[in-house]
Symmetry: none
Subunit: 219 residues, 2 copies
DNA sequence: TTTGTTATGACACAACTTTGACACATCAGG
DNA sequence: CCTGATGTGTCAAAGTTGTGTCATAACAAA
């Protein structure tokens, strides 16, 4: 699992980021001041660092000096309008920057982009005898390729990223289709059936009556 | 299940804590001196560490140095009055402290609070030989899966979260059904019966005549 | 203690809801 | 114009849930 450090003195913002990134499956640690941040950075165990420039005591630039020798990718968080900061940050070796206030979706996209660039993105998923390469969007079962459609693939990824979690229909639909779920249609069910059939997962994809579905380890 | 390490040289206190936390469903290991504690900490398998400051040989602060790089949350146990200790502990990275002698309830509350903060809050509930995973919405009795319907499941959670509390019908109904309780129907009773039957809990789910029901520890 | 009243347990069943299976219409891309 | 993907409707099957009945248990009053 990817580990991300968030260095940000406004605890509310830091926690907001943390919660959202954790929901995406990343492990996060927050540092609310530069000193703590420096200590954590020294551990060298992070895959990515989100760094606020305006910090009390030690500022973001100084911290960047800490990070550079370690080669950990950094995304700067800058206040709106401070163009100089952005340029300076990129010159000093930041991989990207994002302007506050930002959409959480944009943040996630940039995080994934940077991790991918560093070849650290989680790109392979597996469950039972099925392997999924998220980058090439290919799936194999027992090393035999399986052809999945776009929706089927996205649905599969969603299920695997939440294995052993009872997922509500609404949630699955919103994640995979990107829009609110209107009950009373057989869309989601149909795709579940198709996925079950193609993968022979009649027993793995369990229906949770009146709730939704759950991808289950055991028999 | 959450694993908690208790480092405390007074065995009586350590065991008291252990017994109470285990009753709450946590798995506990005790270390009665700093050296043993350090060895156990190094394994890195704990979700939370309760650390007495006053230890023979290696003291709590030194142990904290061990723990920090692992990112495991720590609650300090300090003697009454030693204000400096508390501050020092928090500065060194403890997540909370608790003053001896303490109410066991307070300890449990703080343990849960810290675990929640770390997103490690127990998603599992347990009572007697029944275990409930709220995330996957699965239930086992003596490690054998039990199939519950939505209503049964919600009802069970409500009961366990209020074990040993006499719950008024109205309250149960409103919590589980999400609407006001109209007396004079057998709905709630039926579900209680079904739950009793499925779990073999005829003796645990007691009826409180003219009031409602209570999930009871004793026989 | 007895008796009357009320609440709960046990159970069966019907109504209702949800899901699986499948066919087909529609849509998008080549 | 094809072709495969995707969404939707229908129907049957499966499962859930609310309610009524009746027996029994608990309580309260006499």
């Amino acid at each position: 699992m990817q580990k991300i450090l968030i260095v940000e003195d406004e605890e509310a913002i830091a926690n907001l980021i943390k919660i959202n990134l954790e929901a995406e499956g990343y492990q996060c640690v927050c540092a609310f001041d530069g000193k703590t941040g420096a200590d954590l950075i020294e551990e060298g165990t992070f895959d990515l660092i989100l760094l606020d420039i305006m910090l009390p005591e030690i500022n973001g630039y100084e911290l960047l000096e800490y990070v550079r020798p370690m080669g950990t990718p950094v995304i700067f968080l800058t206040a709106k309008g401070s163009v100089d900061d952005r340029i300076k940050g990129l010159k000093l070796g930041a991989d990207d920057y994002i302007v506050k206030p930002f959409q959480i979706g944009e943040l996630i996209a940039r995080v994934e982009a940077v991790l991918r660039r560093y070849g650290k993105a989680k790109q392979k998923l597996a469950f039972a005898d099925v392997e999924i390469d998220v980058i090439s969007r290919t799936v194999t079962k027992a090393n035999v390729p399986v052809e999945l459609t776009v929706k089927e693939f996205d649905l599969l990824v969603e299920l695997i990223q939440n294995k052993n979690v009872a997922l509500y229909r609404e949630r699955i639909y919103e994640k995979v289709w990107g829009e609110a779920f209107m009950g009373d249609t057989r869309t989601l069910d149909s795709h579940i059936q198709r996925l079950r059939k193609k993968l022979g997962w009649e027993n793995y994809i369990r229906t949770v009556f009146r709730v939704g579905y759950r991808l289950e380890d055991a028999t």
